[in-house]
């Protein structure tokens, strides 16, 4: 009876959160799926059922293909560089005796700045006539350079995207590393295992479940990339840095075609679910308890 009473309270306490999630996450999610079958423009009350037309258009749309490829490239880069650099930095900082708090603050700092501010900062740094990078080059007697071109655009937006969230994963890894018992390292030291060997054979396997979560978060996070790309390049030039988020925005708000934008939204949701499931399967290991 007491247990049931406790559960009642648990359900009661969970209910507000459930209602909020339902209204702000699940309802829009299903509504997006529903709207994707309509020709719906100008946010008006008038919608025409068009079946799979928006999906057919999506298959034929070059910008969607380009955005999809760019999003996948971004995902790989984010896993390798964002999560990778964060792990390396965490391992290094964890091994030092002093300055731990300083490095933690410095590396985490970009996370607290808004994406739009970072985007603007990099846009101004890359600018040809008033840009910081060209100002530095010309100060040293060099020639000004066009930094954002069709070939370089994706790299130029990847730099701030990766830079911003390294600190986020770094802090998670640092917390995980602090929980690894010291006696394991002491035993390893007696066996002569130090440095990189210690990281590869002991530390990484011990925090693997945290790494797997970070990889999943990075994958899902890639589908949410929007503000930085939008401010720096707007997805251009010639869709060179287009990602699914920026293209959805362009179709929905500049193009005022909400039906087609909903179909792109559905693609983002489905891809996010599929890829994070695959990543969970691939990173699945037996949990080590210590």
């Amino acid at each position: 009876m007491q247990v049931l009473k406790n559960k009642k309270y648990a359900i009661l306490l969970l209910l507000p959160a459930l209602i909020l999630v339902g209204i702000f996450i699940y309802y829009p999610l299903f509504a997006t799926f529903y709207y994707s079958f309509f020709d719906w423009r100008d946010f008006s009350n008038y919608k025409t059922f068009v079946g799979l037309d928006n999906y057919v258009q999506m298959i034929q749309d070059y910008a969607v293909r380009k955005a999809l490829i760019n999003t996948l490239i971004m995902m790989v880069c984010v896993i390798v560089f964002q999560v990778g650099i964060a792990l390396i930095l965490a391992l290094i900082v964890d091994s030092i005796k002093s300055g731990y708090k300083f490095f933690r603050t410095v590396f985490f700092f970009p996370v607290v700045i808004s994406g739009t501010a970072i985007g603007l900062m990099f846009y101004l740094a890359y600018a040809y006539d008033y840009g910081l990078l060209n100002a530095i080059i010309t100060a040293f007697g060099g020639q000004k350079k066009v930094w954002v071109t069709e070939n370089s655009a994706l790299t130029m937006v990847l730099i701030p995207v990766i830079w911003q969230y390294v600190g986020f994963y770094f802090v998670i890894f640092l917390a995980a590393l602090s929980k690894v018992p010291h006696d394991i390292y002491e035993s390893a030291l007696i066996d002569g295992i130090t440095g990189i060997k210690k990281a590869v054979y002991i530390t990484i396997p011990l925090i693997w479940d945290v790494i797997a979560v970070c990889i999943s978060l990075a994958i899902v996070g890639t589908f949410k990339v929007f503000d930085i790309v939008y401010v720096i390049t707007g997805g251009g030039p010639m869709d060179a840095s287009q990602v699914l988020g920026t293209y959805l925005y362009k179709v929905a708000f500049t193009g005022q075609n909400q039906g087609y934008a909903s179909a792109i939204g559905v693609l983002i949701i489905i891809l996010g679910i599929i890829l994070s499931t695959i990543s969970n399967k691939l990173t699945e290991r037996e949990t080590i308890t210590y």
């Binding site: 600018a127 008033y130 930094w147 707007g234 708000f253 005022q256 075609n257």
Partner: protein, 426 residues
């Protein structure tokens, strides 16, 4: 003692009544309408434009004159189409503001479809003291000519600040290099080549935000008839002219990613000799004396008259039909105040072209050249984005980069945009 108290109470009561009556007399408010009225007004005067201070002063003055009315200023940025989303969703969901300053043309249609927009015709006829000041040519821009029967031939918004698009010229740079002003195509091309050779950007134009390049060069190529006929063959010629200029190096090196605000800065800082842009840039110019605005020259074989320009009245004051009735006509009264010659003069002193007869003090030489261009215009055409679907125009604008770099032909791009347009028509 008791009688003294009574006398005092009587004096206080009389004083109170007199002060109330006096207050009403001073403000001119009808004693019957002392009930507080809240009017939600949505504009794009957010501070990102030059008119924000004038707007804020105007609502302050109106509230001072009418203490029973409170204007709730819900300014929303025009950037990134935020105001488009807000207004369209507000009207579709029954949350429309009492007063809305919003775009006209293609953007007005979803609002009119909702049936919630006040029709001004009766008020214009009734109050001639106010309406006789509004130019009929300006009202033509906010008169609906489309399939919605209720609004057919009716005025759905009151125009106020007009605009023009043209060629901005840094006259001092032209004088420095002994160049004649670009009044025809040969002089224009000569200027482009000379400035490029001297290390000055010939035209501060953005391919990423190429609205004004597209509109003005299509008008130059096809004349008003070609420009105002969606997907007229002359559109291809107009886009190819932009491509030719890009290949000549007429635009900034980073024109493919440059935003319009930075392009304007290049012109204002004299790093660029010319700029194709609209009247909203006048306020941001540093040199208002050595800058001149003129029509974009007619391209070789172009059908335009040398003084044909893009311009008109792209925004107007909308009122909610139901809310105006519910609030004793205060939303209409407020718009009539905002569109009075006195307030109009304050707005136009900052920038833009008046839709209402008014005396504007201290007009700068550059603004005067803009007014002259508008006054002498053989024809004034509304921009292309007011004529075709936003999605189709966005395609032309954002994919112009493919055309100027030779990755796609103008013909291909226009065919793709037309496909988008036709998809809706079916």
């Amino acid at each position: 003692m008791k009688s003294l108290k009574k006398v005092l109470a009587f004096v206080v009561l009389v004083a109170f009544i007199v002060s109330i009556v006096g207050m009403l007399g001073n403000t001119g408010v009808d004693a019957k309408t002392t009930e507080k009225v809240k009017i939600r007004a949505v504009t794009y005067f957010t501070g990102a434009d030059p008119w924000t201070n004038t707007w804020k002063e105007a609502i302050k003055d109106f509230m001072a004159k009418n203490p029973n009315v409170e204007i709730v200023d819900e300014a929303t940025p025009a950037a990134n189409d935020a105001i488009r989303t807000k207004i369209k969703t507000d009207f579709a969901s029954g949350n429309e503001p009492d007063v809305t300053f919003f775009f006209v043309g293609a953007d007005a249609e979803p609002l009119l479809k909702s049936g919630k927009v006040f029709i001004w015709d009766d008020e214009l006829k009734k109050d001639t003291k106010w309406s006789s000041n509004i130019y009929k040519s300006a009202l033509a821009f906010t008169t609906y000519n489309g399939p919605i029967k209720e609004y057919k031939g009716k005025v759905y918004a009151i125009p106020t600040i007009g605009f023009y698009e043209g060629l901005y010229v840094n006259v001092d740079l032209f004088n420095k290099y002994n160049l004649p002003l670009p009044t025809d195509w040969n002089k224009f091309i000569k200027a482009v080549n000379t400035f490029k050779a001297k290390g000055i950007i010939p035209i501060a134009g953005s391919i990423l935000e190429s609205y004004y390049l597209i509109e003005t060069f299509i008008l130059s190529a096809g004349g008003p008839e070609g420009h105002n006929t969606p997907f007229h063959p002359s559109w291809e010629k107009g886009l190819n002219i932009i491509k030719d200029l890009y290949k000549m190096g007429a635009f900034p090196k980073d024109a493919l990613t440059l935003q319009d605000a930075q392009a304007q800065a290049l012109f204002a800082d004299k790093k660029a000799a010319m700029m194709i842009n609209g009247s909203w840039c006048v306020g941001g110019l540093k040199d208002k004396v050595n800058t001149k605005i003129m029509p974009v020259p007619v391209v070789p074989g172009g059908k335009a008259h040398p003084t044909d320009i893009i311009g008109g009245f792209g925004s107007g004051w909308y009122v909610s039909k139901d809310l105006n009735a519910k609030k004793n006509g205060w939303p209409v009264k407020f718009v009539k105040y905002i569109t009075s010659p006195e307030v109009e003069a304050k707005f136009i002193a900052v920038g833009g072209v008046p839709a209402i007869k008014c005396k504007v003090p201290n007009v700068t030489p550059v603004a005067q050249s803009g007014y002259d261009m508008m006054a002498k215009a053989n024809s004034v055409s509304m921009p292309i984005d007011a004529q075709i679907l936003p999605e189709a125009f966005t395609k032309i604008r954002t994919d112009l980069a493919y055309v100027v770099t030779g990755k796609k032909t103008a013909k291909q791009l226009l065919a793709e945009a037309k496909k988008i347009q036709d998809r809706v028509k079916k």
